[in-house]
């Protein structure tokens, strides 16, 4: 009898092929579309040829800019990453702190639980003008936008994760003589750290979105700034490599967080599957 579809698995080499297939198809579709458009109009900017994308990469990533003498891709990348990483760190600290104490202490939950739920549904972009006036147009407001964008999610996630700690463990800790502080410090925080990384990984997409949005609003450098500026004259030959670069960075940061989680909390993966 033939195996059911749900039980049939590709062997390793077929698996690699299948994984590569969508990317290859996308590239083929792109080059066909690009060729067709370039045949009509050799200066077409929407789907530039691979060689003009290559030129753009050469120009942006390896050549000093004529006017500024800087290599734009690196200037943009470092500006964006500084904002991104600061935003993530602050959101993690704020989210972890408030999430854990709110999840742990009924009095905090009574007073802040609803507040955080409401906070997390406010679209941060809608209150941007207030953010500007309070924090100015500089780096602070960009980082604040990332923090406001993802910290409420992290807080809510942490509250749920703390509440998920089996009550047995909380009782057990108390029967070992632990005070509230000791339970927080020795039981809850260590168990939350790997989950905080999970929450952070889930927030990465939103964080990028808020970073790009912040850079589109007011800035002098950054990956989002460049994309929005280039969009003004449809320079897809620059935008596409930037998008690919952002995708790679996002993927890489996600991978780093996963590795950090596996290295620093070896017990976590095992206990989660168990």
């Amino acid at each position: 009898m033939r195996q059911r579809l749900i039980n049939r698995r590709p062997e390793r080499r077929v698996g690699v092929f299948l994984a590569a297939l969508p990317f290859v198809l996308l590239l083929i579709a792109y080059s066909l579309g690009s060729d067709a458009r370039l045949a009509e109009n050799p200066s077409d900017k929407l789907l530039p040829s691979f060689s003009s994308i290559g030129d753009a990469i050469e120009r942006m990533a390896f050549t000093e800019n004529k006017r500024t003498g800087e290599i734009l891709l690196w200037v943009d990348t470092s500006a964006s990453l500084i904002r991104f990483v600061s935003g993530l760190l602050i959101a993690t600290l704020v989210g972890g702190f408030f999430g854990i104490i709110t999840g742990l202490l009924p009095y905090m939950r009574a007073s802040l639980g609803t507040f955080f739920s409401v906070l997390s549904v406010i679209p941060p972009l809608a209150i941007l003008p207030i953010l500007f006036i309070v924090l100015g147009l500089g780096e602070t407001s960009k980082i604040a936008l990332i923090v406001l964008g993802i910290a409420p999610f992290i807080i809510r996630d942490m509250i749920l994760r703390v509440e998920e700690i089996p009550s047995e463990l909380m009782v057990k800790a108390q029967t070992l003589g632990a005070s509230t502080w000791q339970i927080a410090w020795r039981v809850v925080v260590p168990q939350m750290l790997p989950r905080l990384i999970d929450a952070l990984r889930l927030s990465l997409g939103a964080a990028w979105l808020f970073l790009i949005a912040a850079e589109a609003i007011a800035s002098q450098s950054g990956l989002g700034y460049r994309i929005f500026l280039m969009r003004r004259y449809l320079s897809m030959d620059v935008i596409l490599p930037y998008v690919a670069w952002i995708t790679f960075l996002a993927f890489f940061i996600d991978w780093c967080l996963l590795k950090l989680q596996q290295k620093a909390f070896p017990w976590f993966a095992a206990s989660r599957s168990g």
């Binding site: 009782v171 005070s179 020795r186």
Partner: protein
């Protein structure tokens, strides 16, 4: 050597009466097995003994003193699941209680204090047969080993009372038999008073010195909510499991307690 007294304990959740009229005098160094059909409130009774729940009425006394509102170190617990901390190694799990006790703020020990505590933890782990697995995380242990660890973790605190909530219910029969031997030995060595909830009658009679069966008096559907479970049977297990010497000691200390 701890006596436990329950006086007219009731437990209600809204209109639902779970337990009623529970009166119990437990002698020091007893091993009380609580049995009964599922939902009869035996676990609830145990949770009240660990201060994880509050009786609706009545009072619980330990050595004549009312039970504190929070769980304390003098009452150790072992649950069927989630008894050990997944983020700590076997050794750290046992060390934790000692660290919490001696270092209130940093929760960590250093230098000589750390070495003393470490030795203590290790000998306790040897005792329960986990001396070879000090650096492993609980998730790497079998169910039986996890329960041994949970017991070691509880016993390092030298509790007066040990509360066991179906601790061996999920274990394979062979493993369970081994751990029964260990449990009995530890109980005899430490002289603590043990309460154990179990749904396995043979386990109850095998380990217990006294078996308490909880059950609802009234079983008509319309009465189920309004009447809680009561102590239906209260059996002393014969023959007594204490050696003569121990029995003697018990009597002695009982006499002291009475004074």
């Amino acid at each position: 050597m701890t006596a436990v007294t329950l006086r007219n304990i009731w437990k209600e959740y809204g209109d639902n009466v779970v337990l009623e009229r529970i009166d119990l005098d437990v002698e020091p160094h007893s091993f009380v097995a609580l049995v009964g059909p599922s939902g009869c409130g035996k676990s609830t009774l145990l949770r009240m003994l660990m201060s994880a729940e509050v009786p609706t009425r009545g009072e619980i006394l330990i050595e004549g003193e009312p039970l504190p509102a929070d769980p304390t170190a003098e009452r150790g617990v072992v649950f069927q699941r989630y008894s050990v901390f997944p983020h700590l190694t076997v050794e750290e799990n046992v060390l934790l209680g000692l660290e919490l006790q001696t270092s209130r703020l940093s929760c960590k020990l250093f230098g000589g204090a750390k070495r003393t505590a470490m030795d203590q933890a290790r000998s306790m782990l040897e005792e329960v047969g986990l001396g070879h697995a000090l650096k492993q995380y609980p998730s790497a242990l079998s169910g039986g080993m996890q329960q041994r660890l949970a017991i070691a973790q509880a016993l390092i605190m030298r509790p007066k009372v040990l509360l066991l909530d179906e601790p061996f219910g999920a274990l394979d029969p062979g493993i369970r038999a081994e751990i029964h031997v260990l449990m009995r030995r530890l109980w005899q060595e430490t002289k603590m008073t043990v309460f154990m909830v179990t749904h396995d009658l043979s386990e109850a009679f095998h380990l217990g010195t006294r078996v308490i069966a909880l059950e609802k008096d009234r079983t008509r559907p319309e009465e189920l909510e309004r009447y809680g479970a009561v102590i239906k049977h209260d059996l002393d297990v014969w023959p007594p499991k204490l050696s003569d010497l121990e029995a003697h000691e018990t009597v002695d200390s009982e006499a002291t307690d009475d004074i």
